[in-house]
């Protein structure tokens, strides 16, 4: 099996088969990047439709019902199908390299996680062509989501269930990878901050997603099998959904934000040519944010009527998160302080992020004040707040990471001029869109309404907001053009184009499929930088060249996910006719059959032999 030497020309079919069956974390990263990028465009188009509807008072671009579908699918798509997978793309591409591992702990499960996410995402969007997507808001509050007619919310429930399972699998995989697969000398306190944040975010996934799983099951039973969890007529209680959703939903914010912090920490440190200021404080703050992030979910529910005692507790806990976040902001500033700063696209996003995210944090403390939140709740103020946090934090980070790690993933640097154009279009567009929304909210504009009246002083603000949204769209188009033009014309670069500090830059770009020919010896934080300051060009190996054990490719993850996808339709349509139950049996049969096959068929992987590695080195 060691004759896996890549030939230059491969047929399309064999490339496709390679990607369908791959268990290589770098290829899975590319698939996450493509799929996440696709859903980011879909969600972006939905956002533009929303903004176009609101460009003038009493507009009739879309109907009220379609507007509800647009806002629901925009939120759901952006969080679950764009932001999370893109985070996973960079976690897959970078974390194993940063800790000096040859692959993740469970390559098979890694592939399964991706395919579950993709099929879940497709299922979520199938509603568009079968008579209406989900329309109960991305939070799908009961009882609205229970009585919403049609199959839109059913697609939401089943789609999220499947993609959520994929995310959970991915989370466990990264936890075990980071615990068990670190190279010799890579202690916990020598791990790069992106790896640390990936670790904490994975732990949050592990503990938060089961609550969503249960919430979605309960909603599925209520909608499709006549149970009464959220139905007051049967003694149920709609607030249960809200709790379950936010016990998951608030940690979800940190699942997105923490890796974003990690990305900025890497970039700021690299382009300031300085070690990250206050590394241990950064690690501490990351863990503390993760911990506190679990105890604040009810701040989304201040107006539910939990009473002043519960509201106060959650308000105080929420404000406490500003402390570790503040630690991080100051540490980034101190890393920049006195640094030998290079301003390029990745760095521009990082510099744009700091004030933007700080503003989002400020409004966060404002909405955390429970009594004041009665005013802000469900207004555009909240919309502005969470877009400042999620776009200003996470999307900026994803764009920055795209520019920063593109050479590692594809061996070429994205065009810097186009990158800077994208940044300025996106940055200005973003602030135009959302800064004004704070004031729209304070003036009383409620979120999720599809029209507003004339002469309420809302006209100009909404028009400005819409123009900003289209600037962001333009920026994204330039980025896509950049990707195409770089792939076609870009020049190949070496392993370390940024003169960077961490381990992933010590190996070729793109890395060979076994990552490290010899596992490196880690001698401190920023291991590559240590070697460079001592005059060496690469890492010192920790082992002699030997056989490398690699996992086998497998189509089973794809088959399993396809099975669940098919079963999803059965679950939805059996509410009309029992004949659809057959689809459940077929789908689950395929999925469980694939699981059984996986369980009883030995899969021991193969070895790349030492001789082949040595031969390759000579070539």
């Amino acid at each position: 099996m060691s004759t896996m030497v890549a030939t230059n020309k491969r047929s399309f079919g064999s490339t496709l088969w390679d990607y369908l069956t791959t268990v290589d974390h770098k290829k899975i990263a590319i698939m996450y990047l493509i799929a996440g990028g696709f859903f980011f465009i879909v969600g972006g188009l939905e956002a533009l439709a929303i903004r176009w509807q609101l460009v003038k008072p009493m507009n009739d671009f879309v109907s009220a019902g379609l507007y509800n579908e647009l806002i629901t699918m925009h939120g759901t798509t952006m969080i679950f199908l764009a932001a999370m997978p893109l985070i996973f793309a960079f976690m897959n591409a970078v974390v194993p390299l940063q800790i000096g591992a040859r692959d993740v702990a469970f390559p098979f499960l890694n592939s399964l996680g991706f395919w579950l996410f993709l099929f879940g995402g497709i299922l979520l969007n199938v509603g568009w062509i079968t008579g209406g997507a989900a329309d109960a808001g991305w939070t799908a509050y009961a009882p609205l989501s229970i009585i919403s007619p049609g199959e839109g919310v059913d697609y939401y429930v089943l789609g999220l269930q499947i993609s959520g399972a994929g995310t959970l699998i991915g989370g466990i995989n990264f936890l075990v990878t980071i615990v068990n697969m670190r190279a010799p000398g890579m202690t916990y306190m020598r791990m790069p901050l992106f790896t640390w944040t990936a670790f904490v975010a994975s732990a949050l996934i592990l503990f938060a997603f089961p609550a969503l799983t249960v919430g979605l099951f309960l909603m599925m039973f209520d909608r499709l099998f006549g149970s009464g969890f959220f139905d007051p007529n049967m003694g149920g209680n709609a607030v249960i959904w809200q709790h379950l959703f936010w016990i998951f939903g608030h940690p979800e914010v940190y699942i997105l934000a923490l890796p974003a912090f990690g990305i900025f920490s890497e970039i700021i440190s690299t382009f300031s040519k300085k070690r990250l200021f206050g590394y241990s404080a950064m690690v501490f703050a990351t863990v503390l944010i993760g911990f506190l992030g679990f105890m604040v979910w009810a701040h989304h529910m201040f107006t539910v009527g939990m009473g002043p005692a519960a509201n106060s507790i959650f308000a105080v806990a929420t404000m406490a998160i500003a402390i570790p976040t503040g630690i991080k902001i100051f540490n980034w500033l101190f890393t920049l302080w006195g640094g030998n700063i290079t301003i390029n696209t990745a760095m521009l996003y990082s510099l744009g992020f700091i004030p933007t995210f700080t503003m989002g944090g400020m409004t966060g403390v404002m909405v955390a004040a429970a009594s004041a939140d009665y005013q802000y709740h469900d207004s555009y103020f909240v919309v502005a707040h969470f877009h400042y946090v999620i776009v200003g934090g996470v999307v900026f980070a994803l764009f920055a990471a795209t520019h920063y790690w593109w050479p590692k993933m594809f061996g070429k640097i994205l065009n810097e001029t186009l990158g800077k154009i994208t940044f300025w279009l996106f940055f200005i567009g973003f602030h135009m869109t959302f800064f004004i929304q704070h004031f729209l909210g304070l003036m009383g504009m409620p979120r999720r309404y599809w029209v507003y009246l004339e002469d309420q002083n809302l006209d100009l603000g909404n028009a400005i907001s819409t123009v900003g949204a289209f600037l962001m769209g333009l920026g994204t188009i330039v980025l896509l053009y950049n990707v195409v033009i770089t792939s076609v014309k870009g020049e190949k670069v070496g392993p370390d184009p940024w003169d960077a500090r961490t381990l992933e830059w010590a190996i070729p770009s793109p890395p060979p499929f076994y990552n490290f020919k010899q596992l490196p010896l880690i001698r401190g934080l920023d291991p590559l930088w240590i070697e460079k300051t001592e005059g060496r060009s690469g890492m010192t190996p920790a082992e002699p060249i030997g056989d490398i054990h690699m996992p086998n490719n497998s189509i089973l993850p794809f088959v399993m996910s396809l099975g669940f996808f098919i079963a999803g339709f059965g679950f939805i349509y059996q509410k009309y006719d029992a004949i659809w139950l057959s689809l459940i049996f077929i789908g689950m049969g395929i999925a469980l059959g694939a699981m059984l096959t996986r369980s009883i068929k030995d899969d021991l992987g193969y070895h790349i032999h030492k001789e082949d590695l040595e031969k390759e080195a000579k070539e």
């Binding site: 615990v179 609550a211 709790h243 679990f294 939990m306």
Partner: protein, 107 residues
């Protein structure tokens, strides 16, 4: 790797002996679990006051689960630091869920 796995016969005997004793402990643990279960069921059957019985049966359940985790699932052994850490992380999140749903929902 192969040398690391080969074991000296004397050590093997020692380990075997240790496991045998541990097995004895586990049987005792099992007996305790059965006794706890019987106590819990009989307290409920005896019709004692609710406020008195509930805390006791919950504590008995918690102790039983501790036995399962530490003896049957070997969490007391070496090399279980990370598993224990993550498992207790789960218990912490679980505790929050139960507080939220058991207490806050009808508040």
């Amino acid at each position: 790797m192969a040398d690391k796995n080969s074991v000296h016969p004397a050590q093997l005997d020692y380990e075997k002996q240790k496991r045998k004793e541990e097995m004895k402990q586990q049987v005792i643990t099992f007996a305790l679990m059965i006794i706890f279960t019987i106590i819990a069921f009989s307290m409920v059957a005896s019709g004692l006051d609710k406020l008195f019985v509930i805390p006791i049966i919950v504590v008995l359940a918690a102790v039983q689960v501790g036995f399962q985790l530490y003896y049957f699932m070997h969490m007391s052994h070496k090399g279980h630091e990370m598993p224990a850490f993550m498992f207790y992380g789960g218990v912490f999140a679980a505790f929050l869920c139960i507080i939220a749903l058991g207490v806050l929902v009808w508040w």
